[in-house]
Structures are given as structure tokens and as C-alpha cells.
């Protein structure tokens, strides 16, 4: 039983690990392979600062809120373990700032210590009259992706550094199930007009005296188009660019200027910070995450694809919940195939507690 994961960003690698965790003991002939043309540190995930924080509103999408919660709790469980530093995982506190009162977010009870800002705290941020304080998590992909890769390699998962041109290519090589974690380029495997780039640009600086994240919000211009400052373990990320429909992965001088000026206005001490790097990336934006099964082909050459892409600017935030959901879908596929092979039905049913499956999303 050959399972191929396409894509080695945070979604691809975590889905692969989750699948291996769940099924390797039950399906001994399970062979897991990862295909990608970009690996860490060259994936979209590597450019993200790594802050766990969903968007302000879940638009009633409770499914995604649940996946966010599952991810946060999964990561919290690793916080006091010896693995945390190697994973790039640590607690961080900080501020979300607004120019007017806003409703509390769907994630207020997921993060730790969520509260409104006091008037004295707001003095720190002229121009902002309302805000939140909470403690959340950082998961830096330049550490987390290598950590996931090592775990997978230790378990004998094979990696293939090449671009997959089509699902058919995989099936013709004997792959039984494809897990499609191709992020922004999913459209190259199967057109999806709902998937659009939301281009971001960031400046990485040395500013070790900044200990809090600061995310500002402009309710008119939209998420991440207002300045933000996110301190990592080594560098601090300055950003505030969200350009829908822009496929350009080159750094823009105009965006640099905009980020720099607005972040320095927000935090004057940044003027003295040394710039270390600049990066642009394409958030794989979609109205909802595409996490569903699809059968390709007919009759005996019928094969299965599990799609897991379109996580926009919250891939790190939601990744583990989605990985588990993808693993559940694979469980269903394996259960169906067991009537064709000699797998034990009981063994599949006994896999680690599967919560009631949500309806398939489209």
C-alpha cells in the first residue's frame, strides 16, 4: 500500500507524520513517500514567522476553529518536553491592536490568558484605541520542518526531490493514495479557481529586545495588510503585506518601504534594528480549506486523492487538526480497501480514537 504525500511544507510533512503515527503498526505494508520540488528552507512555510494565531473571524466555520484548537493543544503538549527547542516551539505573549472595539475572536479560549488591553497599555500604541493581550505559541518552521523531516526519515519514509506533474503520474507508478498538500500550486495539478495567492513580504531584523508580538489590524484593508512585529528565537519578523491575486515572489522595494516605515512608527526602537533578510511568499488563500477525498479514474484504475490545501495565512495555526482530519479520511479509504485485500477490519476500526467524522467539506 503506497501512499504518496505531495508537498513538503508544514502541511505535507505533518500530514505524513500523522499518517505514519496512526497506521504504520496496523498496516505493515504501508509505504509512505513524500514528493516535493521544494524542501525546507525553501517552502512557503519557512517564510512565515510561525505565530499560532487564526484570523479574527472564523465566518462561522466551526470546523476550522476546531482544527485550530486541536493544533494548539497538540503543540502545548510538547511545550515542556525536551523536543520543544528542536521543534522551534515556545510560548510568546503579545498584543493585537485595533482602532475601534471589535468582537472577541473565536480563539479567545484557546490561547492562554486572553484579555482586553488596559488604558495604560494602549498608551504604548498611539493611534490604537482597543486591543487584546494573550499568550500564544510560536512554531518556527525553519526548525519544525527539519524536525518533522528527521522523524519521518527515522521511520523509513522516503523523500523524492522532484516536481510531480499530475496525479496520473503517481498512479501510473503504483501509488495507491495521493495526499495533495501542494499549497499555492495545487492549481497546477487540478485547476481550482477558489485558490488564489495572497502575497506577503517580510523583513527579518535583529531586535532581541522585542519580547512580544504586536499585530495591528485595519478592519477596512483586511487581515495582515496592517503592520505586525513578531519576535522569533533569533530574528524579529516585520510584515504587513497581503496582496490578493499577486503571484510575484520577488521582493518589492515599495513594499519594503511600506513595511519599514509603518513598523518603525508602531515601534520607534526598530529604527536601530539591523536588517538581516527580506522574503516574499504566496499564502495559499481559499474561502475554506480544501480537505476532502476525491476518486480519480474509473473501475479498476480508480484511485484516491485526499486534498489538504488552501490554508492561507494560518497553515501553521491549523496544520495538526488538518493532518488528523486527512488521516481520518485515509482511514476511511483503508477501511474500504480492506474488503479488497486481507487487512483486518477490526484492526482498522481500533485505530486511535477517531472522533465522529465531520461531513466532508468542499
Amino acid at each position: 500500500m503506497r501512499i504518496a504525500v505531495i508537498g513538503a511544507g508544514v502541511i505535507g510533512l505533518s500530514t505524513a507524520l500523522c499518517i505514519h503515527d496512526r497506521f504504520h503498526a496496523l498496516v505493515p505494508q504501508l509505504q509512505l513517500e513524500v514528493y516535493a520540488d521544494r524542501f525546507t528552507p525553501h517552502t512557503t512555510s519557512d517564510g512565515a514567522a510561525g505565530l499560532w494565531q487564526p484570523y479574527l473571524s472564523d465566518h462561522g466555520n466551526l470546523q476550522e476553529t476546531l482544527w485550530n484548537k486541536e493544533t494548539f493543544e497538540h503543540l502545548l503538549g510538547y511545550l515542556n518536553s525536551p523536543e520543544a527547542k528542536e521543534m522551534g516551539l515556545f510560548l510568546i505573549s503579545g498584543y493585537n491592536l485595533f482602532k475601534q472595539p471589535v468582537p472577541d475572536p473565536s480563539w479567545k479560549n484557546i490561547v492562554l490568558g486572553f484579555r482586553n488591553l488596559t488604558p495604560k497599555e494602549l498608551e504604548l500604541f498611539p493611534g490604537y484605541s482597543y486591543g487584546w493581550f494573550n499568550t500564544a505559541l510560536m512554531l518556527e518552521c525553519r526548525s519544525y520542518l527539519p524536525w518533522l523531516t528527521n522523524r519521518l526519515a527515522q521511520r523509513g519514509v522516503k523523500f523524492f526531490h522532484r516536481k510531480v506533474e499530475s496525479f496520473e503520474e503517481m498512479f501510473s507508478q503504483g501509488i495507491d493514495v495521493v495526499i495533495n498538500c501542494t499549497g499555492i500550486r495545487a492549481g497546477e495539478l487540478q485547476p481550482d479557481p477558489a485558490l488564489q495567492p495572497a502575497r506577503g513580504q517580510i523583513i527579518k531584523v535583529l531586535a532581541p529586545w522585542v519580547k512580544h508580538f504586536i499585530i495591528t489590524h485595519d478592519m477596512e484593508s483586511g487581515i495582515y495588510s496592517s503592520p505586525y512585529v513578531i519576535p522569533g528565537s533569533e530574528f524579529t519578523v516585520l510584515g504587513g503585506i497581503y496582496q490578493q491575486g499577486n503571484w510575484n515572489e520577488e521582493n518589492s522595494a515599495q513594499d519594503h518601504k511600506s513595511i519599514w516605515e509603518r513598523c518603525c512608527r508602531l515601534l520607534p526602537m526598530l529604527q536601530k534594528a539591523e536588517i538581516v533578510q527580506e522574503w516574499s511568499g504566496l499564502r495559499p488563500a481559499r474561502p475554506t480549506v480544501r480537505l476532502e477525498r476525491e476518486s480519480i479514474g474509473h473501475g479498476r484504475s480508480r484511485t484516491e486523492v485526499i486534498h489538504n490545501y488552501g490554508h492561507g495565512g494560518f497553515g501553521i495555526t491549523i496544520h495538526w487538526g488538518c493532518a488528523m482530519a486527512a488521516a481520518r479520511l485515509l482511514g476511511n479509504i483503508l477501511q474500504e480497501k480492506q474488503s479488497q485485500s486481507r487487512l483486518s477490519a477490526a484492526a482498522i476500526c481500533q485505530t486511535a480514537e477517531f472522533p465522529p467524522p465531520w461531513p466532508h467539506t468542499t
Partner: protein
């Protein structure tokens, strides 16, 4: 009468901040010289983490301590919010004070001065399975050497002369200076023979663990983790009457173990440096004037020492009071000088 000559003795946090305040409130009317045997990075202040979490002095009314803390916090808050913040080494830091006994978790007198003070939630306490209560807040940290070096720079900009000099006896200054401000910290024990002043030895580790962004302070503050700009300070000890300045390896391991039990990721900390400081402890800060005289000669002294574990938290407030006492001395000198003319 010629402009009064003021000498400030001591270049730790108290000496530097006091000299600066004197210069600020007396811009043109006196000459100020700072004398010290040691400068940053070799002062007691350099060992401390510089956290603005007050120590309670049994001999000082709470409302006075609160006023000192408030003045200090307000002053540093403004710097932290300016372009100078990185050079001055002042930054905000959030974190938790955690307790094993509910009785320890009283609301302290300074809770409304720090930012966002509140009890920790049950979810937050899950990170500390051995602790049942806690308080979360945001406060300021003064990283040394940067803060001390920034103060030195401000002094020079204010025309203060700075000289390296060991003062063995305050009286030796009487011919060169009219007013001496004694900010010698633990050195005052020998310099002025103050038996009420005693060291409380503190050993700390400064480690490289830049992923630690929140502070953790356990109970009464014996064990703590304070993230700074380039290092995290792990502490500590409180050894009364110990004058030993050399690090103790057994203590190092003990501090490291205590801190790792609160923050397991510290096991991966690198570049561990050990430092020792002698907190200049006293039941209350000695903030008072004194007149020394021999023969017909006089020397006016203002004492500002004995801040123990709480120097950073109150330094601006006590500097303010000391500067005020210096003004009184100047007025006294001018008064007696005009009487001399009659």
C-alpha cells in the same frame, strides 16, 4: 560664592542615576563629578537582571516605596517607548509569578503600577504542575551593561566629569568638593562604617536561550528566569552575610536544576556564564544628609545606599529624593555663605 562642587561616589545604578538626576534638577548651579573605583560591567548592578519587581523594605512606609516604584516605572516606560529603548537596554517583558501556597499569592502593593496584573487562569497554570496559583503581568527590564552605559553617556552630555578613583574615606574629598553624594552600595559598609548594611550574596547564571520570551518568578523570588536582550538570567541565591564573590559550582548546578524544572527547554541553553553580586541590604535605604566636620572645615554628605534586592525598582525615585537633599545642601551652603558676608 563659587558654584558648589558636587562629587557623586559610586558608578553602579544608584550612583549614575543619582548623578543624572542632580544634573537634571540643577542644570547650571553646580559642577558635578562622578568618582568610582569600578564601572560597568564590574558593578553589582551588572550582575542583577534589572527586573522592575519591587522588593519590600521593612523600614520604609509602603506609600513611599510605592511612590519610588511609580516614578521609576513611569520614567522607564517612557524610554521603552522611544527610539532610545534599544540603546538604553530598556524593554517590556511579560510573565508569571507562581506559588505553591495560596497564602503567598497576595496582591502586592505595586500591582496597579505594572501592566495588566491579574491572577493566572487554570489553563496557564497547567504549564506549572507543581504550582496552584499565579499572577500574570507585564513589567520592564533594564539590561546591564547597556542601561549603565547609556546613563554614563547621558551624564557626559550633561557636563558631568567621570573619574576612576578609589575613595578610602569621604573626608579625603573635603578640600576638592563641597557636597559628596555617597552611592557606594555595599562599599558603604567599609567607607562609612554602617553596621546596619550587610551583603546578601546572589549567584546567577546568564545563558543563551533566546526562545525564552516570558519571565517566571517562583514564590518569594528565590528561583527566577528573566529573559534579557542577549541572555536569560537564571537565579538565584540569598546568602546573608556572605562576602564571597567567587562562583560556587554546586550552586550553579542547583540554580540550573531549579530553573529547568520550571522551564524544561532551558536544558538546551548554551553559553552558561556565572556571576556573583552582593546585594547591599538594609532594612531601609539610607537616604539622608549628614555634615562631616574637622577643625573648621565642613563637608556636606548625602547618603543614597542600601537598596538591597530592590535597586532597579526604585532607583529613579531614590535619585529624585537624593537630588532634593543635594538642593537642600546647596541652599544651606549659599545661606551660610551669605551669612559669612554680613
Amino acid at each position: 560664592m563659587a558654584a558648589p562642587r558636587v562629587a557623586v561616589v559610586g558608578a553602579g545604578l544608584i550612583g549614575l542615576s543619582t548623578a543624572l538626576r542632580i544634573a537634571e534638577v540643577n542644570p547650571n548651579c553646580c559642577s558635578i563629578t562622578l568618582l568610582s573605583e569600578q564601572f560597568s560591567p564590574n558593578t553589582t548592578s551588572d550582575v542583577a537582571a534589572g527586573m522592575l519587581i519591587p522588593h519590600t523594605y521593612p523600614g520604609t512606609p509602603i506609600h513611599v516605596q510605592k511612590q519610588w516604584f511609580k516614578e521609576t516605572f513611569t520614567y522607564l516606560f517612557a524610554i521603552s517607548n522611544s527610539a532610545e529603548a534599544s540603546e538604553a537596554g530598556i524593554h517590556l517583558v511579560s510573565g508569571w509569578q507562581i506559588f505553591k501556597n495560596p497564602s503567598e499569592a497576595e496582591v502586592p502593593f505595586w500591582s496597579d503600577i505594572v501592566l495588566g496584573f491579574r491572577p493566572m487562569s487554570a489553563a496557564e497554570l497547567q504549564k506549572f504542575p507543581q504550582h496552584s496559583h499565579g499572577q500574570a503581568f507585564t513589567t520592564l527590564k533594564c539590561d546591564c551593561p547597556p542601561y549603565l552605559l547609556w546613563l554614563e553617556k547621558r551624564l557626559k552630555a550633561n557636563g558631568v566629569q567621570i573619574h576612576t578613583r578609589k575613595v578610602a574615606d569621604l573626608w579625603e574629598l573635603h578640600s576638592e568638593y563641597d557636597i559628596v553624594v555617597n552611592c557606594t552600595g555595599i562599599g558603604a559598609r567599609q567607607l562609612v562604617g554602617d553596621q546596619q548594611l550587610f551583603p546578601i550574596r546572589g549567584q546567577v547564571l546568564k545563558v543563551h536561550a533566546p526562545w525564552v520570551k516570558n519571565f517566571i518568578r517562583d514564590g518569594d523570588g528565590l528561583t527566577y528566569i528573566y529573559p534579557g536582550i542577549d541572555s536569560v538570567t537564571l537565579g538565584g541565591t540569598r546568602e546573608k552575610e556572605s562576602w564571597r564573590l567567587s562562583p560556587d559550582p554546586g550552586t550553579t548546578k542547583d540554580i540550573f536544576d531549579r530553573c529547568c524544572s520550571l522551564e524544561p527547554s532551558l536544558q538546551r541553553a548554551q553559553d552558561i556564564r556565572v556571576k556573583v553580586g552582593l546585594r547591599p541590604s538594609r532594612s531601609c535605604v539610607r537616604l539622608q544628609r549628614e555634615v562631616l566636620s574637622q577643625g573648621g572645615a565642613k563637608l556636606l554628605v548625602v547618603h543614597n545606599y542600601g537598596h538591597g534586592a530592590g535597586g532597579f525598582s526604585v532607583h529613579r525615585g531614590t535619585a529624585e529624593e537624593a537630588a532634593h537633599l543635594v538642593q537642600e545642601c546647596i541652599a544651606a551652603l549659599q545661606g551660610s555663605s551669605s551669612r559669612a558676608k554680613l
